[in-house]
Amino acid sequence: MATFYDQVREMGLKQATIAKTDEVVERMTSGLNTNDIRSALRGDAPRRPNPRLRPHADGFWFHIRPSFYHNEVTRIYPTFRLGWLSTFMLVWETITGIFLMIFYTPRPGTAYSDIWNILTNVPLGELMRDLHRLGAEIMVLVVALHMLRTFITGSYKYPRQFTWLTGMLLLVLTLVLSFSGYLLPWDQLAYWAVTVAVSAVEASPPADIVGKNLNLIVRGAPTFGPGGLLRWYLLHVLVLPLLAGVFFFVHYYKVVLHGHSLPPGREKIGEDTAKRVPKTDRTYFIPDLFTSELMWTALATLLLIVGALWFYSAPLESQANPLDTPLHVVAPWYLAWSQGWLKLADKVLIAFIFIPALAVAFFVMPYIEVGKSRRYADRRVGLSVSMLFIAFMLVSNWMGSPEYRVESSPDQEVFQELLPQEGHSIMLSVPYEALELGTFGPGEEVPGNPELTVALEEFEAAMNRHSCNVNGDRWKDECKPILDDEGNVERYANTFAAEAMPDAEAQLVIEQVQHNMKQLTLQARAEDPESGDALVDTNKIAFRHIDSRYEVE
């Protein structure tokens, strides 16, 4: 090999530099020189032998990917790009997560103020946090849809059973990854959502030995504290990503090994031709699929950033307080189904028999369901069962929400709708200036003050849902007395609620407590129409500082 000096002497400096550059490019791409790259960009046919296959043989990154796909699997159907998108989200979460780690210390108190620091003192910190949190929720959705797609197109069937099994493992890892991150902000939402979701651990039989000790291991102490936060942090940033990474490669190795299954109608029943792609049906990775994936990367990035900036805001409630359980604690939406089941049956039965049995059934499903045909028409039972299962999960999720079977007293429900302890509040979102001092009734129209008027309309709507009329006609509904065993009136109901306040009175009082802060007091009163005793006489107080910006949330 001639030295650069020899080349310069032979061709002159310019030609020698071009030749050297070409050589460097070829080394970096493991086989494509400048001309090959330009020909790929131009869309010309490759020369023979095809240099665009060399990176797949010699380079590390491209050897992971197949050099060509069957034309049929490069369209949106049948993959919908969901597997690719899952991988993209995994990478996305890793990157945004590492950036968030720069400003985070896993210690109660510090952790919470670190999140506030990210929101208020790190340039674009709120965006970074929203991107990570939004990404986590989308990732759960995408992975679940990927699994659904695999089921519907029958791609779990021979020879891809083991691919399905590793995919199930990745689904579980995704759920646990997302959930383990839930605790880290150390706010009320995090603390109580995780507390209720892992409360089943304590009951694992035999509870005296396994339950008690397992609880100590999971929470690091009898209840969540510094030890527990550190453990969950390590799970979230180290153990689970590592496991997910390892199993991703096992999963993807199998995907490449067996090839993408063709759309069910394209093959004879019982055949798998994914690895026998005729020359005419090939789409090469370089440049076609590579371009396509770059486009999807660009689009997904754009959508995530637009979503996080304008349509999504990661919640942050008050600092976790182990002594104060907020009303209506909920698990994250992707685990709400389990909470629904826990409301119906014993928690040992659900958490240690039903859910594990269901999980095992999912893992081994392809080894049991061995019907040869992947065609939709031949799989009516399987597809119907899957649709029923989805419906069942949606209903379970609804049962997991506070809508189902968790009704507090009617006055507390009204307060919760208008002035909740945490989260978006109709009353506090009224701009500070619009909170005129005084006493206002539900539905009252305040002249020249549309914002407060709208809030008072909401007040009336909430009262309508939770009160009823016995003697008066203030509210929308008549009272339906509910009798107890002895025939006495136990409580009153209306169309919406199992318990309503008869002939209730309510008002909102706005007072100035400091020169730049107002106090909002919601008061509700109701009397027993028969005895005249006070049934309800409560109020709920909240404060609104001039700077607190609830209106932009």
Binding site: E126, T301, H515, R549
Partner: protein
């Protein structure tokens, strides 16, 4: 293929523009969010204050109108916090009196966190065995400091007007000593002067008043006992008693200077009559 290249390019350019615009607004946004954070801390502090502090320091923090857990009105035993000498200036008058070297915020935070030994002020921070987290003590501190941001309290043109009082106690109406004990409690005298019937050592700040009925006449030569008490309440700095139960009394006096605005003439007469009955020897 060309379509994909164009879509990809447009998407990346849009991302670039969006991020650029977001970055442009970010400094203002951060400043507003920082204010919002403080505002919300003050709100949380207000909720804590109305739950735990109004019993002794009063609903407005002026130690004037105190309510107990059940909402009943009762006497205030705490010091006023919504109070210019505590909150105005850095260091404020109060910090100078107690010789506090650090900031006002630290003074308030530390007092809430660790309580004040020898008074009824309990420990609040869980670091010292109390019920509140350190972040909650911080929220309370911010709430108390927020009174000091009020131009009506600390503004430059605020003049505290003390109501004019007659020269001599003799112009007051007839006093009734029986009302004394209630007034003594409800105006917070006991917070500093302790229980006149109890242990003098519990009068942690001011002199103990258990024997004031005997002492008052001898303090200032030529001044009657009644006049001495009258003047001491209206103008605590007029004469400083030599010995307080826990060492020499502070000079200038740390007593509130605005009792002239708090008491009615009848209250004053009743208190004077009551004090004269306090004789232990």
């Amino acid at each position: 293929m060309q379509v994909k290249v164009v879509i990809g390019t447009i998407a990346f350019m849009l991302v670039m523009i969006i991020l650029g615009v977001a970055a442009l607004f970010e400094p203002a946004e951060l400043a507003e969010k920082t204010d919002a954070l403080l505002g919300r801390q003050i709100e949380k502090g207000a909720a804590l204050f109305s739950a735990s502090c109004v019993e002794c320091h009063g609903v407005e923090g002026k130690a004037q109108k105190c309510v107990d857990f059940a909402g009943e009105e009762k006497g205030c035993v705490g010091l006023p916090l919504n109070h210019a000498p505590l909150l105005c200036g850095e260091p404020s008058e109060r910090l100078l009196q107690v010789g506090w070297e650090s900031s006002k915020a630290h003074f308030i935070n530390q007092t809430i966190a660790a309580g004040r030994t020898g008074t009824l002020m309990p420990v609040w921070s869980e670091s010292f065995g109390g019920p509140l987290g350190d972040h909650e003590v911080e929220q309370l501190t911010n709430f108390v400091l927020n009174w000091g941001e009020d131009p009506a309290l600390c503004g430059e043109d605020v003049v505290v007007e003390i109501v004019e009082w007659p020269e001599s106690w003799e112009d007051l109406p007839e006093g009734d000593a029986a009302n004394g004990p209630d007034l003594y409690q409800s105006n917070g005298c006991n917070a500093c002067h302790g229980d006149p019937a109890g242990d003098p050592a519990l009068a942690v700040v001011g002199p103990w008043l258990g024997n004031i009925g005997n002492d008052a006449g001898d303090r200032v030569p030529g001044q009657s006992a009644e006049q001495y008490i009258y003047e001491s309440i209206l103008n605590p700095d007029a004469f400083i008693a030599a010995e307080c139960p826990n060492g020499p009394c502070a000079e200038p006096s740390v007593m509130r200077k605005d009792y002239g605005n708090v008491l009615s003439e009848q209250d004053m007469a009743d208190l004077i009559a009551y004090y004269l009955t306090l004789q232990s020897e």
